[in-house]
Amino acid sequence: MGRYIVKRVVIAIPMLLIISFLTFLFINLAPLDPAEVVLKAQGVPTITDELMAQTKEELGMDRLFIVQYFNWLIASLQLDFGSSYVTGKPVWSLLGPAFLNTFKLTIVSSFFIIILSILLGVICALQEGRVMDKSIRGVSFFLTAIPSYWLASMMIWFVSVKLDLLPTNGMTSYQSYILPVTVIVISYAGIYFRNVRTSMISNLNEDYVLYGRACGLPEKTITIHILRNSLQVAMSIFGMAVPIILGSTVVIENVFAWPGLGSLTVRAILSRDFPIIQAYVLILAVAFIAFNTLSDIITAAMNPKIRNDL
C-alpha cells in the first residue's frame, strides 16, 4: 500500500508541472504586452514608452520567457505568487482570506451534500421502483437541471426581499451561509445521491445479503452492512466532489457577493490581473489532482485489485 501511495504522488508531480507551464504559456500568449496590462490595471491614464520600459525592468519582464517561468514556478512553490497588478499587494495576501472563505462555503456545502445524498440514496434504494423512489428522483432531476444562478436569484428575491428573512449577500454571520449553501446543495445533492442509490441497490442483490437473511440476522444489521459497503464505493466519488464544488462556486459567489476565490478571480479577469488568475488556476489544479489522488488511494485501500494494477 505504501508503494502505491508513493507512486500516485510521484505521478501527480509532472501533471502539476504541465498545468502550471500551460497556464503561464497561455497568459503570455495573450496578444498584449504584459507591461501595458500592468500599467492599465494600475489605472495610469497615458502610457509612454519610457514608462513601459521602466515597468518591464521592475517586473523582470525583459527576461526570456523560460527564465520568467522558472522564476515564477520557484516562487510559487514557496507560495509566493508575486504581486497583484492592480493593487500591488502580494497575491497570497488576497488569495489567502478568499480561499478560506470559499473553503468554508465548500466544506459546509459538501457536508450537507454528503448527508443528504446518503439519506436520499438509502431511502430510494430501499423503496426501489415505488412512488417514493420515483418522486425523489423526478424532483431531484428537475432541481439539478435548474441553472444555479437563477435559483440563487429567485431565492434571494423570495427569502430576502419578499419575506425579509436573510441578508441578500455578503458573509456577515452564520445566516449568510443559509442561502448559498442551499443553492449549492440543491445543485449537487441530486447528482450524488444517485451514486449512493446505485451502489446500495447492487449491494442489496449480493450473496452476503441473502446469506445474512437466511441466517436470520435482524434486518437492521443487514442494512448497516449494506450501507457500509455502499459508502466505500461512494467515498471516492465524494472525494472528487470537494474540488468540483470548489471550482464551481464562481457563479454562486458572484450572485451572493461572497468574498471568496470565485469573486476575486472574476474581478481579476475583468481587470486582467494575471498573477491572481495564474495562482487561481494553479490552486484549483492542485486541489483537483490532490483530491483525485486521495480518492484513488482510498479506493485502493478498500480494493487490493486496484493497487496491484498500477
Binding site: 494600475q42 489605472g43 436569484s153 426581499v161 419578499k162 449577500n169 455578503g170
Partner: protein, 533 residues
C-alpha cells in the same frame, strides 16, 4: 466574463418573468429614518494612495482635496484661499487657508504642500499624461501659509489640472514613506470631509465624517462603500435596503440597467438623478489615410448625415445618453461655439456624395469613383455590447446611401494601438470628459498616441496645430475663447470627429435624500452636501 454578464442578464429576465408585476411593498428601502449612505460598487476602493492611480476616485474625492476647485463658474478656492499669477504666467503664488488640519491632526501648511508636490514630481514618468507635471520646475515655501509654484513656461490649464482628483491632492506628510509616496504610503489621511475609518478588502470600506472639517462637519455621518457584483445582486440589495445608493462608476459603467432603475424609482423608495453631459462618444475618422475614401471631407460629412442619432440614443442606449451634434456639449468650458448642426438626412448624404463624384452604377448598391468602391472599415470595442449594436445599425443605414461599411470588433488595447499607428479608417472613441475637456482632448489632436492621424490629413492641419499651441500658453481669456472657437470650427467643418451621443452620470438615491449634485468631473460626487429630509 461575457458569460457572467450574460448570466446576470438572463437572471434578470427570468426574475422579471417569474416575479411579474412587483408591488411597491416589495421594495423596502426602509421607511425608518436613514442616517447613512451605503453605495454599491463593483470594485474595491483599492490602494487609496492619492499620488497613484489604483484607488477608487469617488472614494479619494471624499478624503483628499486640491488647492483649487473646478466649478461651473470656473476655478474657485479650496485649500488655497486666493492666488496670484505672474504677468508672464510662469509663477503661481497660493495663499493657503489657515484653519485646515489633516485627519491625523497634522496642520496643513505650505510645507505640506511642498512635500506633496515634490512627491508627485518624483514619479514624473507615471504622471506624464498630465502636462502640468512636465512644466513644474520648483515649489517654494514663502511663509507658513504661502507657497510659490514655478513653471518652465506659461500653461493656462495649470489651475484646472491642479483641481483634478489626482495627483495634485494632499496627504499628511506623516503618511509618507522615506519622504516619498511613489512606493506606497503608511496611512490615508487627507484634509477632506470624510475619513477612511475601516476597510475590509473586497468587502466594504467605511468613511466617517471628519468633525474638524474646515468646511463644517458633513450632515451624513457615515458613508459605506460595499463591493457587490453589478446587476442582479446589487438590484436585490437595493430592494431590500441593504444598499441605498448607486452611481456610474469611475470607468463610466452603470451598475444597473435602465429597466432595474425604473423599477426602483416606480416603487417610490428611490429617485433617479442624471447629470449634465459629461463626455461625448464619437466615431473618429482618419483623415491621413490617403488611399482611403475617408480622407475626403465629403465622405466624412456624408457619414455624419447618415447616422440616426435619435434612434441610437433612444433605442440602442435606452435613453441613458443624449444626442450629440458637436464634439463637445455646450456646457463644456469654451465649447459654447456656434456650429452647424448636421442632422440625420439621408438625402443630404446622397447629394453630397453625388456632388463629390461618388456615383451609383446601375445594378450596384455601392458607390464608385475612378474605379474605387466606397468601402470603409469601422472598428469597435468587442467588449462593449452597445458599440457593436451601434456599428451594425450605422452599417445598415449607410448602405442605403451607397456606402459600404465593414465592421470589426477588437480588444480595447488593440483599438488604442490602431489609433496611435494610424492603421484605421473609422473607429469608436470618446472624449476625456468634463474637467479634462476641452484641453486634454484638444491637446491629444497633436499627440501621436491619440489623434494625430485623425487630424493631420485635413487641409488646415498646420493652422490647427499652431492654434492649439497658442491656446495652451496664452494668458488672455478672450484670445483663448477665440482660439478654442477656431479650433472647434476647423475640426467640425472637416468632420473628423463624428459625434454620436453624450454620456452623463446617473445616481440612484433614496427618495428622501436631498442635496445630490455633481462636480465638474465624472469621477467624484460631493457627498458632503447631501442630507436626509
Amino acid at each position: 466574463m461575457m458569460f457572467v454578464s450574460f448570466i446576470v442578464l438572463i437572471g434578470r429576465v427570468l426574475i422579471a418573468c417569474a416575479g411579474g408585476e412587483e408591488s411597491d411593498a416589495d421594495i423596502e428601502a426602509s421607511t425608518q429614518a436613514q442616517e447613512e449612505i451605503v453605495y454599491a460598487t463593483a470594485q474595491d476602493i483599492n490602494d487609496m494612495n492619492p499620488h497613484l492611480y489604483t484607488g477608487s476616485m469617488p472614494a479619494q474625492g471624499m478624503i483628499y482635496e486640491s488647492l483649487v476647485e473646478n466649478t461651473e463658474e470656473g476655478i474657485k478656492p479650496l485649500l488655497a484661499e486666493s492666488w496670484e499669477i505672474s504677468d508672464d504666467g510662469t509663477v503661481y503664488t497660493f495663499h493657503l487657508r489657515e484653519d485646515v488640519t489633516f485627519h491625523d491632526g497634522e496642520p496643513f501648511n505650505a510645507e505640506a504642500v511642498k512635500k506633496n508636490i515634490e512627491a508627485v514630481q518624483a514619479n514624473a514618468e507615471t504622471h506624464a499624461w498630465i502636462k502640468l507635471s512636465t512644466q513644474i520646475e520648483d515649489c517654494r515655501v514663502v511663509d507658513e501659509y504661502t507657497v510659490e509654484l514655478t513653471l518652465s513656461e506659461a500653461y493656462y490649464p495649470t489651475l484646472v489640472e491642479l483641481s483634478m482628483t489626482r495627483p495634485y491632492v494632499f496627504i499628511s506628510p506623516n503618511d509618507f514613506i522615506d519622504g516619498e509616496t511613489k512606493e506606497g504610503v503608511s496611512g490615508f489621511h487627507g484634509t477632506g470631509p470624510y475619513m477612511l475609518t475601516d476597510h475590509k478588502v473586497d468587502e466594504y470600506a467605511t468613511f466617517t465624517a471628519h468633525d474638524a472639517y474646515w468646511g463644517g462637519e458633513p450632515a451624513i455621518e457615515t458613508i459605506t462603500s460595499k463591493v457587490l457584483p453589478a446587476g442582479e445582486t446589487t438590484f436585490l440589495a437595493l430592494q431590500k435596503g441593504e444598499v441605498n445608493f448607486v452611481f456610474t462608476d469611475d470607468r463610466g459603467v452603470d451598475t444597473l440597467d435602465v429597466e432595474a432603475i425604473d423599477q426602483l424609482v416606480a416603487s417610490g423608495a428611490y429617485q433617479l438623478i442624471r447629470s449634465d453631459a459629461m463626455n461625448t462618444k464619437m466615431i473618429v475618422a482618419n483623415s491621413s489615410q490617403d488611399e482611403s475614401p475617408v480622407s475626403e471631407r465629403a465622405v466624412r460629412e456624408a457619414i455624419w448625415h447618415a447616422i440616426d442619432r435619435e434612434t441610437i440614443a433612444e433605442e440602442i442606449l435606452d435613453g441613458s445618453e443624449t444626442v450629440a451634434d458637436t464634439l463637445f456639449s455646450s456646457n463644456i468650458m469654451y465649447a459654447d461655439v456656434d456650429l452647424d448642426v448636421r442632422s440625420f438626412d439621408l438625402e443630404k448624404a446622397t447629394d453630397i456624395l453625388d456632388e463629390a463624384g461618388w456615383l451609383l452604377e446601375d445594378g450596384s448598391n455601392v458607390r464608385m469613383k475612378d474605379g474605387n468602391t466606397l468601402t470603409m472599415t469601422l472598428y469597435y470595442d468587442s467588449h462593449s455590447s452597445s458599440q457593436k449594436t451601434q456599428a451594425e445599425f450605422i452599417q445598415a443605414t449607410l448602405i442605403e446611401a451607397g456606402v459600404q461599411l465593414e465592421i470589426v470588433g477588437e480588444e480595447s488595447t488593440s483599438i488604442a494601438n490602431r489609433r496611435s499607428t494610424g492603421e484605421y479608417e473609422l473607429l469608436f472613441n470618446q472624449t476625456w470628459g468634463l474637467a479634462y475637456d476641452p484641453q486634454s482632448t484638444i491637446a491629444a489632436f497633436t499627440s501621436e498616441a491619440s489623434y494625430l492621424h485623425t487630424t493631420s490629413g485635413i487641409a488646415e492641419a498646420d493652422t490647427l496645430y499652431q492654434k492649439i499651441e497658442e491656446v495652451m500658453v496664452t494668458t488672455d481669456e478672450d484670445m483663448r475663447q477665440n482660439l478654442y472657437g477656431d479650433i472647434l470650427t476647423i475640426v467640425h467643418d472637416e468632420a473628423v470627429f463624428i459625434p454620436i451621443s453624450n454620456g452623463s452620470l446617473t445616481v440612484v438615491a433614496p427618495a428622501e435624500l436631498e442635496g445630490v449634485s455633481f462636480k465638474q468631473t465624472q469621477f467624484e460626487l460631493p457627498f458632503e452636501h447631501m442630507s436626509f429630509k
